[in-house]
């Protein structure tokens, strides 16, 4: 055995891995192609080069570097939260972010609202033949930055390439694991009369951004996606207000859908105040122009919290003290009757039901 390999054997596992990363970096993999080809998905050398040049480069961490089939994680004892989501947004790049931001933040947020500290993510890519590598690098760069901001690591992944026309450029799936360190269960099914419903900020920004970014509606505006990792905000909220019954990440279907889920799961009524729901003026303008209701429009960086009525001040103070919760507002209350329904007191003074939508909120023209 050479002295070098002898020295290597004596290193700890982690140090061995770090040394391997150094070596890999030294003969830095470079991707010659400008566009993804079917070979990149075949598992051979081209795949290897893609992984090293693009994914490993961006996501570098000791857990990922071995590039085994799975990452080996040391459990910290206690309960785990586990979630997965696939991201198929079109367009891939939009004001305020891209599919990469959504892929990390979305999964981080699902873990956070389960009461977990998000730790590790997997990232699976389905790429269309011909997809520009520069775009992939941009997406992966966003994911790396988002992961760092959220304090998570991307530790395992997969890449497949499909023929031209069989995918919309790039689809991403992320699964995430987090550890639950607080006692107790979070769940909206425990909502009870007297509770309040809080949203952490203005609604509808992501959905409107995407709708306008598709370019078919020819509408100019400054609205940007609100995609953001909410784990820091959740920690602050749960520290200040242990009386939080449940949390939800407000995504597809918007705040209205979540309130319906609360009402049904807990068998209670949720009564919302239209005046209290925060909406940016330009989001409201776009919704009026298109004939859609902001209550149903997707967010990607907002949470809905059902909180014991006695702790509303503490909860609101905690949310407002965090940059992502500055616009937090109490938007409604939980009552016992009529069970399973969401009602809205309109700013006009009348009342109406807020039901689940059948499909996507199509812009009303008439």
């Amino acid at each position: 055995m050479t002295s070098q390999s002898q020295q290597y054997q004596e290193l700890s596992r982690e140090e061995q891995v770090l040394q391997r990363i150094e070596k890999a970096r030294a003969r830095k993999a470079k991707l010659k192609e400008e566009r993804i080809t079917l070979s990149h998905g075949s598992g051979g050398k081209a795949t290897q080069t893609l992984i090293e040049a693009v994914f490993l480069e961006a996501f570098a961490n000791p857990l990922l570097a071995p590039l085994e089939d799975g990452a080996v994680l040391t459990a910290l004892g206690g309960r785990l939260a586990f979630t997965t989501d696939s991201y198929v947004v079109s367009p891939l790049f939009f004001p305020g972010g891209d599919i990469g931001d959504l892929a990390v933040n979305g999964t981080v947020n699902d873990l956070a609202v389960s009461g977990a500290r998000p730790l590790w993510l997997s990232a699976g890519f389905i790429l269309e033949e011909g997809f520009p590598v520069a775009d992939l690098e941009r997406i992966v760069g966003s994911m790396a930055a988002a992961a760092e901001r959220a304090g998570v690591q991307i530790v395992t992944g997969d890449t497949k390439v499909v023929q031209r026309g069989k995918a919309d450029g790039c689809y991403v799936n992320t699964a995430g694991v987090g550890v639950i360190e607080r006692p107790g269960e979070l769940g909206v099914a425990t909502a009870r009369p007297g509770d309040v419903v809080i949203v952490s900020g203005p609604v509808g920004e992501h959905g409107i951004t995407i709708m306008l970014a598709r370019g078919e509606l020819d509408i100019e505006s400054e609205v940007t996606s609100d995609t953001a990792p909410l784990n820091g905000l959740v920690e602050r909220l749960l520290d200040a207000a242990p009386g939080v019954r449940g949390l939800r990440d407000a995504t597809r279907g918007g705040v209205a859908t979540i309130c319906n889920e609360v009402a049904r799961a807990a068998g209670v009524a949720v009564v919302l105040e239209e005046e209290a729901v925060p909406v940016r003026p330009d989001v409201r303008g776009a919704c009026e122009l298109l004939g859609i209701d902001p209550l149903y429009v997707a967010c990607e960086g907002r949470l809905v919290a059902v909180v014991d009525g006695d702790q509303v001040e503490a909860a609101m103070a905690a949310l407002r003290s965090h940059p992502l919760g500055e616009g937090a507002a109490v938007i409604g209350r939980v009552r016992d009757d009529p069970p399973g329904l969401v009602l809205l007191k309109t700013s006009f003074g009348g009342t109406r039901i807020v039901d689940l939508l059948v499909g996507d909120p199509l812009p009303r023209i008439c």
């Binding site: 078919e216 298109l290 009552r335 009757d337 006009f348 009348g350 109406r352 039901d355 023209i365 008439c366």
Partner: protein, 375 residues
């Protein structure tokens, strides 16, 4: 939002409601029909009925241009969409309207290229960007929207576009109102007139309603205070023994309408001898088609649509709901076989249909809702 928020003021609503209540004769019931689907939508979306006394009932009329499209025409549109190299473009409201074999949504699942647009001008843009495709615009709406379709055809003609046409399903409001007036089932005290149709046709066309049929009509805007004020104006007319056409929406509606808009409609389109309305049957001179001089922009001439007449499903009572004879919940299939997820008729599909508006917004009895929201 200017010109919007001021007309949603809750305090003024209470004041108006008090005035309306003060005009109610004890023991008398009042029935007003709001013709226009947009008004139905406003009524339910803002909970306007909470402001009205029990003695005033609002009856929902046939002014929802999506609701009155017969299934056969939907089938024709899907036929066009399924032709090779066709891109069908349509307003969002049409996407889920059922034909005999599914709606636009189902057709896209089976491979048709159907795209949602906000304006017929967006459709023109798609035509310019896709010269090898035939782009068709599903033109629906009353006189409010017909000028836009006509202007788009004129623009296409000016640009010499050869791959653009419209499938014209525009209908006119007066024959629909007349059908209501002639209907023996209905006793109405007055009409809340369609606000945006009137920006085009003005208020004169309604004069026969007051003059020959003795019913007052107030042309109303679309914010909740507009509607409340219009109801107040109707009640005042009844109390004072007047019967006239009045314009509550004067900030937008010119009494004489928009001459240019009427000219443009007349340049590109003409009245069909008759047209079938869902629920109302065949009505003469109630719909528009593209003139011969613009034949290359007429989808009906460019594609040989089957034109098969399809009867409504037996269970469907849309016709009676459209005429205001039945309230949505009085329809036998409302909320059971016919829901927004599984609509049988157009009243449930269109967001402006009375059934959809009621199901989505008003499904609970007034008293229980008031009880729950008392704070």
């Amino acid at each position: 939002m200017r010109f919007v928020d001021e007309f949603r003021d809750a305090e003024k609503a209470q004041a108006l409601a008090a005035q309306i209540a003060a005009l109610c004769e004890p023991g008398r019931q009042y029935k007003f029909m709001e013709v226009c689907g947009g008004h139905t939508h406003t009524i339910y979306k803002h909970g306007l009925e909470d402001y009205l006394p029990e003695s005033i009932t609002l009856v929902h009329g046939p002014g929802c241009p999506v609701c009155v499209i017969p299934m056969g025409r939907v089938d024709d549109a899907i036929f066009i969409a399924r032709q090779p190299d066709v891109i069908m473009t349509s307003f969002g409201d049409m996407m889920r309207v059922p034909g005999s074999n599914g709606a636009f949504f189902d057709a896209t699942a089976r491979g048709a290229d159907i795209r949602m647009v906000y304006s017929p001008l967006d459709s023109l843009k798609i035509a310019r960007q896709n010269p090898d495709k035939r782009v068709v615009f599903m033109a629906i709406g009353f006189e409010t929207t017909a000028p836009s379709s006509a202007m788009t055809v004129l623009r296409a003609a000016a640009e010499g576009l050869e791959n653009f046409s419209i499938f014209c399903n525009h209908v006119t409001i007066i024959p629909a109102i007349k059908a209501i007036l002639d209907s023996p089932d209905l006793r109405l005290d007055g009409f809340i007139g369609p606000g945006h149709v009137s920006t085009v046709i003005g208020c004169r066309p309604y004069e026969f309603i007051a003059g020959e049929y003795g019913k007052p009509l107030v042309c109303a805007g679309f914010e909740p205070l507009d509607l409340l004020q219009s109801i107040y104006m109707l009640m005042l007319q009844l109390a004072e023994g007047r019967c006239e056409v009045e314009n509550q929406y004067s900030r937008v509606v010119p009494w004489d309408g928009n001459l240019k808009a009427l000219q443009v409609i007349n340049e590109v389109m003409e009245l069909r001898p008759y047209f079938e309305w869902r629920g109302l049957g065949f009505i003469s001179h109630s719909a528009l088609r593209v003139r011969e001089s613009y034949a290359s922009f007429d989808a009906e001439r460019q594609f040989l649509v089957p034109g098969v007449r399809v009867a409504d499903p037996k269970a469907c009572q849309c016709g009676e709901v459209l005429k205001g004879v039945l309230k949505p919940w009085e329809c036998k299939v409302f909320g059971t076989a016919c829901t927004p997820e599984t609509p049988i008729g157009t009243c449930m599909v269109s967001p402006e249909g009375a059934c959809a508006a009621y199901y989505n917004f008003g499904r609970f009895t007034r008293e229980r809702v008031k009880e729950a929201t008392r704070s």
